[in-house]
Structures are given as C-alpha cells and as structure tokens.
Symmetry: C2
Subunit: 233 residues, 2 copies
C-alpha cells in the first residue's frame, strides 16, 4: 500500500481504500450485460472502478465517467449514483468505501481496443460470485435500482439504439424483468406527452413494418407516477 506516500502529497482521496465502481449495463441480443475488465490483482473479472483523481475530476460523476471512458468509446446515455458502501468487511485490508454508480450504455457503443474489457451476462451471475471482490453484490444492488426504476420512468429508452420501435421498449422490460407490460400500456405511456419523435422511417422484416421513433431531445429522463403492476415482483 502507498497510503502514507499518497497522503504526504496531499492526495488523500486517491487511495485504494476509496473508489468509484460502475455497473455499466448494455442490452445485446436481448440480454442484459454488464461491462467488466480484468485486473492484475485478481483472477475474476472486475467492474470498471478506480480512484478519484483530484487533478482530473471536479466531481464524483466525472470520476465515474472518466473510468468508463477508459473502456468504452462513447459516454453513457444515463448515469446515476446508486449508493455508497462503506464498511470494515468488504476489503480484507480493513475499512473501505466505494461509491457505486450504474450507467446505461447504448448498443452502438464499442469496447476500446487495447483494453481487456468484456461484456458479462448479468443472468449468468448466480450465487457463486463470478466477479472479483464484492462486485457481484454491487451489480445486484445496481440491478435492483434499475429494475425498479424502469417501471416508472423513461429509463428503458436509454438502453435502446438511437431509433427504435415501440416493441423494442417492450423487449427492454422482458430482458430486465423477465416479463413486460402489455403493448397497450407501453404505447399509452410512451406515446404521451411528446416523449418520442416519429422518425418517419420504418423497420421492415417478414411482417408488418414497425414505425421507428427517437427520444424527443427536449425531454430529460423523467418519472411517471405509477408503476406498471404486471411487472411487479
């Protein structure tokens, strides 16, 4: 450990004992995946994480985004702080503290070349941890927040590509919760209040083509005042 060395330079916060960990979610092949990478100090893949760099980061959100961008070529469409976990048992070295974020990544994002970044199926993360440290538990907490919030917000949109159909929204629910509200309800909700803009284009397949939409750029992520209950756990 380089604690006293760091401290002497005054960079007290940039130590191994305080970190920012990010669960970056993407939807690929209708499956929810989380960004991992390998680290020299552990065999299992780990979440993107790292120290606060006082010189580089003016706030915690910056720290999170900076660490993400070491592995990804695009910034997240949505970034939210989940919780800060601090205790004396998550790290064998003693008290440690991590600020946990989750990020929603559009499927167009690419892993940076030259890194060992990988997408890791969230469903494959069973009981026995497949991630380093307590990162499995952190992903779980982030997932719980996301799974809840998806039911009363426009968040599902932020996992989609720039243009998408209404059924694509339904697939987000399916991937995250294993079940989805009826299309009727999705249409009512997302076609209200000018949340979406029709692109005028269609997606063709071996069936009736689907109208494509994009997020109305006038709108920030927003909350509704009811949860879908068909998706309640």
């Amino acid at each position: 450990m380089t604690l006293s060395a760091d401290a002497k330079t005054g960079m007290l916060l940039s130590t191994a004992l305080i970190s920012v960990d990010i669960a970056a979610f993407v939807l690929r092949d209708n499956k929810l995946q989380v960004l991992t990478h390998s680290r020299p100090d552990t065999d299992l893949p780990a979440l993107p994480a790292g120290r606060i760099e006082p010189e580089l980061d003016s706030c915690l959100d910056n720290t999170a985004e900076r660490h993400l961008l070491t592995l990804l070529d695009t910034p997240p469409t949505y970034l939210e702080q989940v919780v800060t976990i601090g205790n004396d048992f998550r790290d064998t070295r003693g008290w440690s503290l991590t600020v946990v974020y989750y990020a929603l990544i559009p499927p167009s994002a690419e892993l940076k070349l030259g890194t060992d970044a990988e997408w890791h199926d969230v469903s494959a993360m069973g009981e026995t941890s497949t991630l380093a440290f307590d990162h499995g538990a952190l992903v779980k907490q982030a997932m719980e927040r996301l799974s809840k919030k998806v039911q009363y917000s426009t968040l599902p949109l932020y996992l989609l590509p720039e243009t998408f159909s209404l059924s694509d929204i339904r697939k987000v629910f399916e991937a995250l919760l294993g079940k989805a509200p009826p299309m009727r309800s999705i249409r009512n909700r997302f076609l209200s209040d000018n949340l979406l803009q029709p692109t005028g284009t269609m997606r063709y397949g071996s069936n009736r083509p689907a109208a494509l939409y994009r997020i109305n750029p006038e709108h920030e992520p927003r909350l509704f005042n009811r949860l879908y209950h068909t998706t309640a756990s």
Copy 2:
C-alpha cells in the same frame, strides 16, 4: 491540517475530508425542523456530521447513527442514505467528500443535555444560507428526496408519535409539501393491508374524538405503486 499525521497512523478515512452528514427531521408544532448544533470552526449552525471511526463503526449507517446519538437521546425511526457528494469546490481546502443521510425523528425524542443541539425551521432556510458550509444545500437535497418519497410510501408514519390519528398523517403532508391529499385517499391507503393497528383509544378535543392507531410492528417501511397527484409539484 493533520493529513499526514492521520495517514501515518493508517486511519486514512478518519480525516476532515471525508465525512458523514445527517439531516435529521422532526415535526414540531406542525413545522418541519432539522437538527443542528454549533461548532467551534464556524459561526453558523451546522448539521450533525463527522468522521468515520474505524474502531467504532462497522458500516456507514453506524457512523450516521452514532453521530446522531451524540445529540439525541433516541435513535431515528427511519434512516436513509441520500447521496454522496464529492467535488473540489464544496470545501475551500480542496477535494472533499460527504455521505449524506436523512433521518426521521419522532417528536418524543429529546435533545441531549450538555450539547448545543437545536431544532432549526426548514422553512426559514431561504436563499441566503443560514447553515454552515454547504449544509443548506444538503438539507435541500434530503428534503427533495423525502418530499418525493412521502408521496408513495409509508414514510409519513415515521415522523409521527407512537400513536396518532389519520388526520395526523394528513398534517405530515401539509407540513412537508404545503398541501395534502384528501382524507378519503389517506384513509384508503393507510387503512389498507393492515398497515396500522387500532389502539382502541381515542383522542378527545372540543370535537368528535379521533381514533388512534399505531404502526403495525409486522410492517417495515414500504412503497406504494402510485403517487398522490394532488400533492405533485
């Protein structure tokens, strides 16, 4: 600053630059108040706050509760982490980080003797800060979370004394939001699902007496799946 001294002893987290700040809310005279105390290093009153003590605290929640109990004789009925704020501008000394909590305190709680703890009207906290450091902004953030959550959870109950009437619940909304849902809606919501137990006792006044209830001890704080919309801002 005693940064290097602290760091040399290995107590890296127990420094002035990382703290836990608590906005402890109470309802007195139908007004929302927040717990403050005076500190030697500032003129304005400050929130209860302090360092993590690795020897005393096994997790952050403990730290928050420990600092609260230096000023109060009773633990909070509800404690929740709001957010962690970390940036390079909230403290003139440079990067600093604080984990912000809010606590709901029952009106039966008493300030500890020998402390300079005080209740501070939240409504009196206008633009010009009446609290030390950025504590006014922290209270504001905690209030925003509480004001929202009160509309879709059983949280209003946790600001009430052990026994209370249904109109008392309404008064919580009134104090927090300036407006309240109709009694019809409050009754429908809070008398459902055995959330409350009738005490069998009444509160008498110069009017029809009110039936008194207590929280059903079987129930943890819980969320509903709709917001009241009469209280929407």
